[in-house]
Symmetry: C2
C-alpha cells in the first residue's frame, strides 16, 4: 500500500484535522520518507499545518533520562492522569533504541500497546536507522502533525545520553528529567549539561528497598541544582514510583503548573523563536555540509587538516586560504583557481 | 613607529627566539593588525613558529572567574611561586574589560606593572575593541609567540560570564575557576556550564570575616561537583587568600601535579586535536559568514526567516529552498535562479 495512495496533501490534511488516526500515521511516515514525490507532498502538508494554527495550544513535554531509569513505565503511569484530565495525548520517541521503538527485551511493548489502544492516545516510535539530527527534525514535524490532529499534550521520549537533549529542548515547552535513586554509578549515563536543561527533576523508583535512597538522592540533587542555578530559579526535585503510582500525579501537577505559568503570549513567542533558531542552525549545518562535500573544497580541507596535524601550517594561514577558496566558489570562479 | 619597521618575518622570528621582548610585543601587535601587509607577515611568522616547536613544553593555564572575584590579585600572588620555581611566565588577557587591560578603577594596573617589570615575566592585555571570537583567536596566536620566546608557563586570564570559556578551554591544558565565598548571589556572574570545564576550583578571599564562609562554600561546591561529575573524576576544590598569600602555593602545586600527570604524548595529542578542532570550527563560522553575507543568499534568508516567524512556511520547505540556492551558488549558477 502506498503511503499516501493517491491522496493530495490537502486531502491528507483534512483527514488529519478530522482526527483520522490512520491518516495521521501515514502522514508521519510520509515526512520520514526520502522519496522525492513523498518529499514534495510532505513539504506542502507541513506548510499547510504551519499556516493553520490549531485552536487549542498544546503542551509539549520532553521526558528524558538514562536507559533503565524507567521512562516508558513513567510515561505509561503519567498518561493515565493526563487522559483522566480529558486531554488527548500523543507520545513520540526520539531515540531509536527506546522501549517505545521496541528496544525492550522485557516485552514492555505490550504495555505501550495498551496505551496505543486508548481512543485519546497516540503512540509513535521513532524511525529506525536515521541519524540523530534527522530524528529530531522528523520528531519536530510529527509534533506539528499531532497538534493538527487535535492532540493537546505531546510527550517526547528521549534518552539523556547524547546531543539529542539540546535539540529536543528546542522543540518542547518543558523538559522533565528522570533519574534513578542513588548517587554516583546509578546516574551513569546522564551527560553533564542535561541537568541544566531540566524544568523538573523526578527521582523514579521511589519504592520498596530504594525508597530511602530516593529521598537521599532528592536532597543531593536539590542542593546541587541550587549551586548550579545560583543565578535563576532552580528546578524542583520530586520523587515518584511509576510502579506503585505514588508521586506520579504530583509530577503531572508540577508540569501543569509550570505550563500554566507561561502566558499564551510568551509561549507563542518562545515557539516562534524556537522555529527560527531551528531554521538557522539546520541551515548552518546544511551550508557547511554542502561546502565540505564540494570536490574542490574537500580536497583542500583534507590537505590543510593534515598540515595542521603535522605542525606544517598555522590555523590562521589555513583559514585564510580556505576563505579565499570559499569566495572563489561563491563568485563562480571555483574551477579557475 | 611601524610595527615591524622593515623587519621580515624571519628577522622577527629570530629576535623572538633570542628573547627580545620588544620584538615579542611587536609581533603580538602585528598579529592583531588587520592591515593587509601586516596580515601577510603575521601569517608567515606564525607558520614559522608552528614549524619550529620549542624544546620545552609549556604549561598553559586559564584562570577564569566572575568580575570582582580577584583574578588579577590571584594571578599576581601565584606568579611569585611560579617565578620562584624558575619558570618564565607570560600572562595574557582575553577579556577587554579585565583589570589587566586597564578596566580597573582602583589603580590595580600598578601592581601588574610590577609583575611586567620582572625579567622572567611578560604581561599582555587583550586587544581592545575586538569581538570575542577574534580575541580568542589572537590570544591563541599570542600563546604560540610567547612559547617561541621561551615562556614555559602561560596564564590566560578570562571572565567566566560568556562564551569565551568554551573557546579558552580549547587553547589551554588546564582551567582554574576562581569563585567567591558564599553561595547564591555571591557567585552571580558565573554562567552554568563553566563549572564543568574546570580542572581545579579555588575559593578566593578565604581571609578575615569571609574565612568561615569560604570553608562552607568549599563544601557546597565539593558536593555539587560530585553530583555533576558522577561519571568521572570531579575537580578538587581548594581555598586561598590572594591577599594574605595563604593557600596560593597549594593551588599552584595542585596545578603542577595535574600537569605532570599528563604524559608528553597525551599532551601533544590533545594540543593537536585542539588545533584541528579550532580550524574546523572557525572554518564553519567563516563559510557560513561568507554565505550569509552573499547578496543572493541574504535576501532569501531574510525572507524565509520572516515567513517562518509569521507561520507562513514550514522550516522544512524553507530549508529545501535554501539548500537549492546553496547548490546553485556553489555550481556557479547563482545569478540564473
Amino acid at each position: 500500500m502506498a503511503i499516501t495512495d493517491t491522496l493530495s496533501h490537502m486531502e491528507l490534511y483534512d483527514k488529519i484535522r478530522l482526527g483520522d488516526r490512520i491518516a495521521l500515521s501515514r502522514a508521519i511516515t510520509l515526512v520520514e520518507s526520502r522519496q522525492s514525490d513523498h518529499v514534495e507532498t510532505a513539504n506542502a502538508l507541513l506548510d499547510t499545518c504551519m499556516r493553520n494554527t490549531p485552536e487549542q495550544t498544546s503542551m509539549r513535554v520532553a521526558v528524558s533520562g538514562a536507559p533503565g531509569v524507567g521512562k516508558s513505565t513513567f510515561i505509561e503511569s503519567v498518561s493515565s492522569h493526563i487522559l483522566e484530565a480529558g486531554h488527548r495525548l500523543a507520545v513520540l520517541a526520539v531515540d531509536p533504541s527506546s522501549q517505545l521503538s521496541g528496544g525492550s527485551i522485557l516485552g514492555d511493548k505490550t504495555r505501550m500497546h495498551t496505551l496505543s489502544a486508548h481512543p485519546n492516545a497516540f503512540v509513535r516510535p521513532s524511525p529506525a536507522g536515521s541519524h540523530p539530527g534527522g530524528v529530531a527534525e522528523r520528531t519536530r514535524e510529527a509534533t506539528l502533525l499531532c497538534e493538527t490532529a487535535g492532540f493537546d499534550v505531546i510527550i517526547v521520549e528521549t534518552v539523556g545520553v547524547g546531543q539529542s537533549e539540546t535539540q529536543v529542548r528546542t522543540m518542547v515547552d518543558l523538559l522533565l528529567l528522570l533519574i534513578s535513586p542513588g548517587g554516583g554509578d546509578e546516574v551513569q549515563g546522564i551527560k553533564r549539561g542535561i541537568l541544566e536543561l531540566a524544568d523538573l527533576v523526578v527521582v523514579n523508583k521511589a519504592d520498596g528497598a530504594l525508597a530511602s535512597q530516593a529521598r537521599e538522592t532528592m536532597g543531593q540533587y536539590t542542593h546541587a541544582l541550587r549551586v548550579l542555578f545560583s543565578q535563576g530559579q532552580a528546578p524542583d526535585v520530586l520523587s515518584c514510583s511509576s510502579l506503585e503510582g505514588s508521586g506520579v500525579s504530583a509530577a503531572w501537577q508540577a508540569l501543569s503548573t509550570l505550563f500554566e505559568n507561561m502566558s499564551a503570549h510568551d509561549l507563542a513567542d518562545i515557539r516562534s523563536q524556537q522555529e527560527q533558531t531551528w531554521f538557522k542552525e539546520r541551515l548552518r549545518q546544511l551550508v557547511v555540509e554542502r561546502f565540505i562535500t564540494h570536490h574542490r573544497f574537500l580536497s583542500e580541507y583534507d590537505k590543510k587538516l593534515a598540515q595542521i596535524a603535522q605542525r606544517e601550517l598555522s590555523v590562521r594561514t589555513a583559514l585564510a586560504e580556505m576563505t579565499a577558496l570559499t569566495d572563489a566558489l561563491l563568485s563562480g570562479r571555483g574551477e579557475q583557481i
